[in-house]
Symmetry: C2
Subunit: 479 residues, 2 copies
């Protein structure tokens, strides 16, 4: 598994996980389905599929309330619904109708739930694109506005985090007549070739680790671990030794597998480095990067000692509950959704990753576009379109757009693909200190840093302004 | 042929015709081809086709000149090149690179030139959509900017008339990061169900006729002709009598055929009602509606006299040169491109037409969406998407857009689908008195009314402003 795939995987998994807050304080929304064209963009295809969405009018003021619309990303929509507390926190304030729409091909919105995503079936995935997903959202919004009494003139604000944030911003870009504005949280809308340095992501991860109390020693240990692992693996009986040292459930098949499994832990920890406990596959402590580095705080006494520290560190991510008796290095292997996300990076969204020993603690690796293409062809039978996402969605050029908030967290490695300035007066860019991946989208929490509190206030004010101006225009229009 | 088809037909034919100006004063541009993805929007389709474009750097100032880019519409791109003199007139002023890009499936840019557009082949036309055409233009522009020395930072202004104008506006809407602004001349971007009254088009045609010197009598005669024709046709030997009265080459098969052929003439005349002679299939006089009404200026002395006047009036459109010895009522039948245009109205762009005896001079007809759908299914095997164009391209809502000029001519029946106001400060709407279908896009002419001269000045000033602001931003960006 390459770094690319690792990161892509985390991109998915973070969402399927952060469901710690138990008392949400709202009634769970109603689950509904909407019949969508399978292919909005090919008029000779008449098939349809059912798109799932969740909807709640608990807080809705039918006379003037807006629609807060979450543009679902790569996974089950209920997970995003449970992990985007910010929308629920502000819904009463805005008197808003709340909608979470699932992305086609994920969750229960898969037109072909029984078809495996393999090269021989790839024709069935021709409609698995960003453009189709955006058209689904636009179509669903128009449907809701035309069928729900009181919603006809309601302004719509799109929300999303990570890939969902990209979708929210792109929805505003492509359908400004349908979506009034967008909050694109931690949206790496320019994480594409020529727009990011491929090692930038790992550099942020490394900085997150380095900046903790024992960071220098911790990153030094991680940095050393790669050669130690390679060293052992290359010797007779080496893989068995590693299997034992890392408490693996199954005999290790290659050093790569172990290394990727570890890289995955470090990358993921940086993304979910939240100030309070959250729950991934297993629960995580508050500030999990700090907790991890505490396990890696000492100079190594021996190779065994180094492996022990690394194992304990990775254990913060893979076994914080302490329930696992052994580790499965295949546990991060792409599950359904992760493989589906990889398909998207093998078609429309080419995302380059690499590691540079001068700037990060990861095992050195280069980004080879040829390799990337070969992997895609092998895995899915698709040839990625290297520059398509930028051509279609504008990369870092948002100068002519309006009513979008791009928020990014200082601790979040994905921020390297974010937007930090725009010449447009109604594009708000927020850099949130001490915040990991779209922390601002989560429920407010007593342990939130002041930075994310301030960011949320700015976000609310911007949205209120958009709505106010929209309502004034409506009024002028009527007058 | 219904009125809908009539109008659609003219929509095409007007472009294949207006090539009167002999001395263009510029070197004919170079013809080139660009390899496009057949399907930009389905990553599992890898086929390509060659898109034709015409390019001229005769006037180009490589240091700061913009790119003037014509978004080709439903026909051979050379015709648009020859009939968009305005771009050639202003190219020296702007030091511009001039490009005319052909629309996929038209002219020489048809991926399947040997495949007939019939229900059994419809799968081959799944990529014949607006979205694909816009992606072609965006892709071609990026290609030109990245391969032509000096063009990398050139601002791009899109031009188009009629459907081309719709494409120009939509290109700016969907690809603002690629196209700085657009001149959408006579672009009926809201000529869709619920947005126009289906008889509005014919009402403008009728007004054009009525407002001429002998207009009252002329429209009265046309109005009477329908019942007279029906009357004769319903009698024994009636079709033969009509064949003789109208000097038809072939025996008439139905009153409908004759009536549609006549309706076609009146509608077309209104569109091409230019102040100087132009050349359609046959040449036309200046102010051809006036010339037509001169033939229809008298009260009818008898049915034969009425038919004679009608025949002479239609002759202005079908036989101004006087060379035809007889008329072919099938001569307006959809040629290749017209049938292709009809496909577009049977997939993404549903355009409702009807006639109302209270407000127009045409044979009364209702718009039935069910009929419309049935005709599409029969002709192409497609079911149109009634509300798609508005959902996807915004209908009349341009409040959040910028840098677009919507110009419409008072005499042009298509103006009823145009944009006449916008709350956006950089959307310029121009209503050009005494002007027919995108007169402003044609070469300047001594006989141009003052209104179109004034409109062109405003268009030039708006474009100069966009470019100036773009260059200032670029400068700020560098500083």
């Amino acid at each position: 598994m390459t770094n690319k795939a690792c990161a892509a995987f985390v991109f998915v998994m973070i969402h399927s996980a952060l469901s710690y807050e138990a008392n949400l304080g709202y009634n769970y929304p109603e689950t509904k389905f909407y019949k969508q064209q399978l292919d909005h963009l090919n008029p000779t295809v008449d098939d349809t599929f059912e798109q799932r969405y969740l909807i709640s009018d608990q807080y809705w003021n039918k006379k003037s309330g807006p629609i807060l619309f979450y543009a679902g990303n790569e996974g089950d929509i209920t997970v995003f619904c449970n992990n985007t507390g910010f929308m629920w926190d502000i819904a009463p304030k805005f008197g808003a109708l709340v909608v979470f729409a699932e992305h086609r091909y994920y969750g229960e919105s898969n037109p072909y739930p029984d078809v495996k995503l393999l090269p021989e079936n790839v024709a069935k995935f021709g409609q698995f694109t960003i453009e189709q997903a955006l058209a689904d959202f636009a179509d669903l919004i128009v449907h809701l506005k035309s069928t729900i009494q009181g919603a006809e003139h309601s302004p719509v604000i799109a929300f999303g985090g990570s890939y969902g944030g990209m979708l929210a911003a792109w929805l505003r870009r492509k359908y400004p007549h349908i979506v009034l504005g967008a909050l694109a949280a931690s949206a790496p809308v320019r994480y594409f070739p020529d727009y990011v340095e491929c090692s930038a992501y790992n550099q942020v991860v490394t900085k997150d680790f380095f900046d903790t109390e024992f960071g220098q020693q911790c990153t030094e240990n991680i940095r050393q671990s790669w050669s130690s692992i390679e060293d052992v693996a290359s010797k007779p009986d080496g893989l068995r030794k590693l299997t034992d040292a890392f408490h693996l459930c199954e005999p290790l098949k290659s050093a790569d597998a172990l290394e990727n499994w570890l890289s995955e832990a470090w990358s993921s920890l940086a993304m979910v480095n939240y100030p309070y406990p959250t729950s991934f596959l297993n629960p995580l402590p508050r500030w999990p990067v700090k907790a991890t580095c505490e396990k890696l705080a000492k100079p190594k006494l021996s190779q065994d000692h180094l492996f022990e520290m690394i194992r304990e560190g990775a254990g913060v991510f893979y076994n914080y509950s302490g329930q696992a008796k052994c580790f499965d290095v295949g546990a991060y292997s792409p599950g359904l959704d992760a493989s589906f996300w990889n398909f998207q990076t093998c078609t429309e969204m080419v995302m380059p990753f690499c590691s540079n020993p001068d700037t990060d603690m990861f095992k050195p690796s280069k980004f080879s576009y040829d390799e990337y293409v070969k992997n895609c062809q092998k895995q899915f039978g698709t040839t990625p379109r290297r520059d398509w996402a930028v051509l279609q969605f504008g990369g870092d050029d948002w100068s002519d757009e309006s009513n979008i908030i791009f928020s990014n967290g200082e601790l979040d490695p994905w921020q390297v693909g974010g937007i930090f300035k725009s010449s447009s007066p109604t594009i708000l860019t927020l850099f949130i200190e001490n915040a990991a991946h779209h922390l601002d989208l989560r429920h407010k929490n007593l342990l939130d840093p002041i930075s994310v509190r301030a960011a949320r206030i700015q976000e609310i004010e911007a949205m209120a302004m958009w709505i106010m101006e929209h309502n004034l225009q409506q009024k002028d229009h009527k007058a």
